[in-house]
């Protein structure tokens, strides 16, 4: 670790926290239907959309209606993405003449983008036409993110509303169409527009021209000895997609190497912007939450819990990667960090980012369910690779996906409040809502679905031939690759230990199932839980009420998140990265 490395990480976290409040306050206004400075422009567009869609924005939905609307919309999106991939060879804007994508890969990708996972079994510049990138993938980057945020807002409303307050029909959670539309128009589009232009200024490409050919300075030969004199530079409308893939915790790269690719992430400054946008909305949503429930301390407490966990694990990754790989040191590679030599474990990393930025990104992208990468996680040291895995094993609640991360964290809050509430001798309550059997049923369901999905699919893969066939690295690292694949898809993350060739019918199918479960089997019980909370009376707080904004509660919440993940995954991790580390 160097002072510069520590500073880079600290400055990053500081900027993130500073941005959370203004954006969070703005989002609270958007979701409360209050006036914003964008109304003059977007108000007419919004009203036109409602009129064309036949939506009455004042119509309240109960949790079931909300869930049905959300799923129909997502299913429709999934079908469109599938169809566009299968038909891209006959559609326009395909300058490289990309062929139709295979059915299993199309299914996996359609699920992947509709569920905000953006796991990519394919290589972007070798597979997708510009049209598919735009109409299928960019659109889903927006609406899948908006879906997650809409569900969160519905959940927050459940905590605010109660039968006692006359406003709001009992059990009403808002209107999905309105939440979806306002999120996309007022929050995601303006941010994406600004960010994409900033990225272009740094060198991210944004063009509809075909790939460019360059003459090599030093001609070379390919594997079979044929001379190679030119380089084909893949281009495309990348910046517009990268901006939203970062902001919407999607993470699906325009290019195969994702944000390690110089055209996707050309400079340390673009890297900073992209890293900030990974966590920007999830962090700001904490403030939005506090604002909406009328007690910003509640939002800060959640943000504090997330930030503390994130910071600790960033430094964990940083230390592990900076220490380098002793096997390479033995061969004569100099991994010492000096002012001239970035040092550390540089396999799979880019020189312009070095170890601190790669460690920071890897931790942030897996803390959020973003999954974009600026270095290859598969080549991290065992402990450096363990942390991204663990970040996902937390259930994507340390920031997590936009919306989904916070509602996931709120489920942990409910469990934490339940056990802590018992310990102070009262029926537990959160923000005045009693946590009873039904809430625990849903919360338990939500907590157990993810580990069971990940563990059972990993188990299936390690005992079947197609599962074992495409493992790339030998030994326990191969096990880590499979575990990572299902952890990533089972948590809607999308990053990978990319050595595993996952573009096979087996992995496309099982991965698709994991992503569907992890998105909708969590979203629907969350909404059911919201429906139950919305119908509950609000209990006024007293000295006997467990405060949920204190350092003590933050520590307890962190402990619960840590312990649940540890208990679920210690055995699996022991057989993967932990044993690999001990073998180093």
């Amino acid at each position: 670790m160097t002072l510069n490395g520590i500073l880079q990480i600290a400055v990053y976290l500081a900027i993130l926290i500073l941005l959370a409040r203004p954006l969070g306050a703005f989002m609270a206004r958007v979701y409360n239907g209050e006036r914003t400075f964008l109304d003059w422009l977007l108000g007419p567009v919004e009203r036109l959309i409602y009129r064309l869609a036949g939506v009455d924005p004042a119509q309240e939905m109960n949790w079931k209606t909300y869930a049905v609307a959300m799923q129909i919309f997502n299913l429709l999106g999934l079908v469109v993405v599938y169809a566009l991939q299968r038909l891209q060879q006959v559609l326009p804007l395909n300058p490289q003449g990309m062929a139709a994508v295979s059915p299993d890969s199309s299914f996996n990708t359609a699920v992947s983008f509709a569920t905000n996972t953006n796991w990519q079994g394919y290589g972007g510049e070798m597979t997708m036409s510009y049209l598919t990138q735009m109409l299928a993938l960019t659109v889903q980057n927006f609406v899948s993110a908006a879906t997650g945020m809409a569900i969160l807002v519905a959940f927050i409303r459940a905590l605010i509303r109660s039968p006692q307050t006359s406003s709001g029909k009992a059990g009403g959670l808002g209107n999905f169409w309105v939440d979806l539309t306002r999120t996309t128009l007022y929050i995601l589009l303006p941010l994406a527009l600004i960010l994409s232009l900033a990225l272009v200024s740094q060198g991210v490409v944004q063009t509809f021209s075909p790939y460019q050919t360059a003459n090599l300075l030093q001609p070379t030969v390919d594997g079979s000895g044929n001379p190679v004199t030119s380089q084909l530079l893949a281009l495309g409308p990348a910046a517009s997609q990268i901006a939203i893939k970062q902001l919407g915790t999607n993470g699906g790269g325009f290019f195969n190497a994702n944000s390690a690719h110089p055209f996707e992430n050309p400079t340390p400054f673009s890297n900073l912007l992209e890293m900030l946008s990974i966590l920007l909305i999830p962090a700001a949503l904490c403030y939005t939450f506090g604002k909406m429930v009328g007690d910003t301390r509640q939002g800060w407490a959640l943000l504090a819990a997330m930030t503390i966990l994130l910071a600790v694990f960033i430094f964990g990754t940083y230390i592990a990667e900076a220490a380098g790989n002793p096997r390479l040191a033995a061969l004569g590679a100099d991994q010492q960090t000096t002012s001239l030599n970035p040092g550390g474990n540089m396999e799979g990393k880019e020189v312009r980012f070095g170890v601190p930025n790669s460690a920071l990104w890897a931790t942030a992208t897996t803390a959020a369910s973003n999954g974009s990468v600026n270095a290859m996680h598969d080549s991290f040291t065992p402990l450096g690779g363990l942390i991204p895995l663990v970040m996902m094993h937390f259930g994507e609640v340390i920031f997590g996906g936009v919306g989904s991360g916070l509602y996931g964290m709120l489920i942990f809050v409910i469990v934490a409040v339940f056990v802590a509430g018992l310990m102070v001798g009262r029926t537990p309550e959160y923000l005045g809502k009693k946590i009873e059997a039904y809430e625990m049923k849903m919360a338990s369901l939500l907590i157990l679905i993810m580990p069971l999905t990940v563990l059972f699919l990993t188990a299936l893969a390690v005992i079947t031939t197609p599962g074992k066939a495409t493992v790339y690295n030998p030994g326990p690292h191969g096990f880590s690759e499979i575990l990572y694949a299902f952890t990533s898809q089972g948590n809607n993350n999308g990053s990978a230990f990319a050595g595993l060739s996952a573009n096979t019918p087996f992995y496309n199918l099982t991965g698709g199932i994991a992503m569907l479960i992890s998105r909708y089997w969590l979203a629907v019980p969350t909404l059911a839980l919201a429906g139950s909370l919305a119908r509950k009376k609000k209990v006024p707080a007293s000295a006997g009420t467990l405060p949920t904004h204190t350092p003590l509660f933050i520590a307890w919440l962190i402990a619960i998140v840590l312990i649940v993940a540890a208990l679920n995954f210690i055995p699996a991790l022991a057989l993967g990265p932990i044993v690999e580390h001990l073998m180093l």
Binding site: S162, Q164, V415, F418, V419, A420, G421, L422, M423, V424, G425, R426, T427, G432, I435, E436, A437, M440, A443, S444, L445, I447, L448, P451, L452, L455, F456, T458, A459, V462, I463, K468, P474, G475, P476, G478, F479, K537, K538, V539, P540, S542, A543, G544, T545, L546, P547, L552, F553, W556, I563, A566, L567, P571, A572, A574, L575, I578, V579, L582
Partner: protein, 735 residues
């Protein structure tokens, strides 16, 4: 307190023996399945037993001795959990049996027919038309039947020495009853018709006089029957929080099942990829599973619930449901009757204020005479004050013998005054003859509530002295009760009656406030008086001039604001409020409607008990929360014990995780399993006694409990498992 359920040390042995026996009986899978955590352990025990048998035959996956040892300790785990439950139930059962002895079948004398000569008894009506002059016990037609044939609304007759055959309400008569069988209180209580002391309980004994009682409960549904049922826990339903906790524990169990099941494929892959070692054995997987699932809390959960009810009974409170006990922990508003709870039951005269130029001596004597026949504590205190402060000779009611024609006027709700009429022969009072005509025409002395007395003065045509009203107001403002005293319609002074707030009650309320509980004083006093006492006692709020309707309305208001309300009550007019309150404690001396509307009955009839009830409720929840935390945080250490051991052959380097330096893989696994079983036994006393409760704010409680049970739960098994391992090594069991 005198409880009928005192622990009898000589029966303790029997209690334990019975619990051991019950622990085996409870192995029946049909009863185990109600506790998913322990059911999983039982299935695991059966499976390892099967594997042990297989190993004995010679095709085992591991040495038979090892599998057998694991199986034995898994069975112990189940048995220990069953034992804790049986022990908790056993205490109740012993108590229930003591009660049942008093419940034996007796004969009863039922009143035959509906009409009795000379006066009317309608068997379906509560009212009895009665002419005392023609009353003759012998005229009541009685038939002797078995107590079990008495039905609701039957009338029965009991006299001195009889055991009351059924619960009921006194319709006629007044008698003293020994209720020690129910309450443990040996002092007899008075039971009489009409009023708040009309409820009698079957199984109690009449000490004097006779009663005619209308039966209110069919056989088997009486108070004692319900009590026995509750104590035995036969009809124990899981409480809301217990259900919620069970769901969470079940979820953990399912997750750990998944973790252990998938560990087998993981292990197979690891063996394949590393090219060495053998896959994890089923025995080790089951051992790991049992260690991971929350057996500590799962095994003790029902014991905690039963023990919570039991602690209520130790306090002489019968909770009608576990739900009520739990709700007690959640209460945030306590409605407390002023009299008896906040103040000593009686007000005391502390000062006599003469008005209208009357001498203190005269006022003292008039007040003394007015209170001679007043047997209330207030009346007594006036007599005492007159004697001690003004040096008057003691008088007694017996003076009527000296002065025939002296007539005492008792207090009535209509006149709201009491007093005495003195004959003309009565010696002059205070040395001065009465201004309006002396004692020749007799003297009328009255004392009573100011407004009633003002009317009296007006009616008598006297003027109201100018200094009377200020004196009355001053007393009221200070929280006292003024009594105006008159002599022949002329005001002579005011008696200052003062409520004496109980010692230490203010501190108690401060504690409650810290616990987040709001105290509300209920009183019939006027707002001025109520405010003064409320301030002195340190309650948060008060309801003055309380009527049953106002009480009910107050409860509804709090509840609609989301608060949980607890109250005590005894009168019939309390019944609606009791029914509305979330935690309603009826005094055992209370009326039948009050007792039926309540969800708890305090056999001691002690209104302060509410505070203890709240504490027991909180303790119950805290014990569950603490042991859940303990149980889950234990798991981390168990991973460190078992994982390196389970994969020792495949990945010897995993020995790096063996931070406890356990001797061998087998001893590591055995140590974890043994620790897991023993911790249940070690925690039984805590489960039965409950986590100690201190009246602190929520944050402080959480911090303390997290340190003890969270951090303690994390650290304790590292030490415990190591110790077991050292012991096993010393015994050369798995060297």
């Amino acid at each position: 307190m005198n409880t009928p359920f005192k622990k009898q040390s000589n029966s303790r042995r029997a209690l334990y023996l019975r619990a051991v026996k019950d622990a085996f009986i409870k192995l029946d899978p049909r009863s185990m399945v109600r506790n998913p955590v322990m059911f999983v352990v039982e299935v695991g025990s059966a499976l390892t037993t099967f594997l042990w048998l297989q190993a004995l035959i010679g095709t085992g996956e591991a040495p038979a001795g090892f599998i057998g040892a694991v199986a034995i300790w898994l069975w112990f785990t189940v048995l220990f959990a069953n034992f804790s439950e049986a022990l908790a139930e056993g205490r109740g059962k012993a108590q229930a049996e003591a009660l049942r002895r008093t419940r034996r079948e007796t004969s009863a004398r039922r009143v035959k027919g509906s009409k009795v000569e000379g006066w009317k008894v309608e068997s379906s009506s509560r009212t009895v038309n009665l002419q005392p002059s023609t009353f003759n016990l012998a005229d009541i037609p009685l038939e002797t039947v078995s107590s079990t044939s008495l039905r609701q609304d039957d009338l029965y007759f009991v006299e001195t020495g009889d055991i009351l055959p059924a619960d009921g309400e006194v319709v006629e008569g007044i008698a003293s009853v020994d209720e020690s069988a129910v309450t443990g209180e040996s002092a007899p209580v008075i039971r009489e018709s009409g009023g708040d002391r009309s409820a009698v309980t079957g199984g109690t004994r009449l000490l004097s006089d006779w009663l005619i009682v209308r039966v209110t409960a069919n056989p088997g549904e009486g108070f004692l029957d319900r009590m026995i049922g509750l104590i035995e826990g036969a009809k124990r339903h899981k409480t809301p929080n217990e259900i919620a906790l069970n769901i969470l524990l079940a979820a953990f169990t399912i997750i750990f099942l998944g973790v252990c099941i998938t560990l087998l494929p993981f292990s197979l892959y690891s063996v394949e990829t590393s090219g060495q070692g053998t896959p994890i054995t089923i025995t080790v997987l089951i051992a790991l599973l049992v260690c991971l699932i929350p057996t500590t809390i799962g095994g003790l959960l029902s014991a905690i619930g039963i023990a919570g009810m039991d602690r209520m009974i130790q306090q002489n409170v019968i909770a009608m449901s576990g739900r009520a006990v739990e709700a007690a922990g959640d209460v945030d508003v306590l409605l407390l009757d002023k009299t008896g709870t906040i103040t000593l039951g009686n007000r005391q005269a502390v000062e006599l204020i003469p008005v209208d130029g009357c001498s203190p001596q005269e006022l003292a004597e008039v007040s003394q005479l007015a209170s001679l026949a007043d047997e209330t504590p207030e009346g007594r205190s006036i007599v005492v004050l007159a004697k001690e402060k003004y040096g008057l000779r003691g008088r007694s009611v017996a003076e009527t013998d000296e002065h025939p024609g002296m007539r005492f006027i008792p207090f009535s709700a209509q006149t709201r005054m009491s007093g005495v009429d003195l004959p003309p022969t009565f010696p002059p009072i205070g040395g001065t003859p009465s201004p309006n005509g002396g004692e020749e025409s007799g003297t009328q002395i009255r004392k009573g509530a100011p407004d009633a007395m003002f009317r009296l003065i007006e009616d008598a045509g006297s003027r109201t002295p100018a200094d009377l009203k200020p004196a009355v107001d001053a007393i009221a403002r200070s929280g006292g009760t003024p009594l105006v005293v008159t002599r022949n319609g002329r005001a002579v002074g005011v008696v200052h009656l003062k409520d004496i707030v109980k010692g230490g009650i203010k501190e108690r309320f401060a504690q409650l406030r810290k616990m987040g509980i709001k105290t509300v004083m209920i009183t019939g006093d006027n707002p001025l008086t109520a405010a003064a006492i409320a301030a002195e006692a340190g309650v948060d709020d008060f309801l003055a001039q309380a009527t049953p309707e106002a009480k009910l309305k107050l409860i509804r208001e709090y509840q609609s604001g989301g608060r949980l309300v607890a109250m005590t009550g005894d009168g019939t007019n309390d019944a609606p409020a009791l029914a509305q309150a979330d935690v309603a404690v009826a005094m055992n001396t209370g009326t039948q409607p009050a007792r039926e509307a309540a969800n708890m009955i305090d056999l001691d009839s002690n209104p302060t008990k509410l505070i203890q009830i709240v504490e027991i409720g909180k303790q119950l929840l805290m014990t569950r929360g603490a042991l859940t935390t303990f149980s889950i945080s234990n798991d981390i250490a168990k991973y460190f014990a078992i994982i390196p051991a389970a994969f020792a052959s495949t990945y010897p380097v995993l020995g790096g995780l063996n931070v406890m330096r356990l001797a061998t893989p087998q001893s590591a696994i055995m140590s974890a399993v043994i620790f897991n079983a023993l911790i249940i036994i070690a925690l039984i006393p805590l489960a039965l006694r409950g986590v100690p409760y201190r009246p602190l704010g929520a944050s402080q409680l959480l911090r303390d409990n997290l340190l003890i049970y969270g951090l303690g739960g994390l650290v304790a098994p590292f030490i415990g498992i190591k110790l077991v391992d050292l012991l096993l090594a010393a015994l050369h069991l798995y060297g």
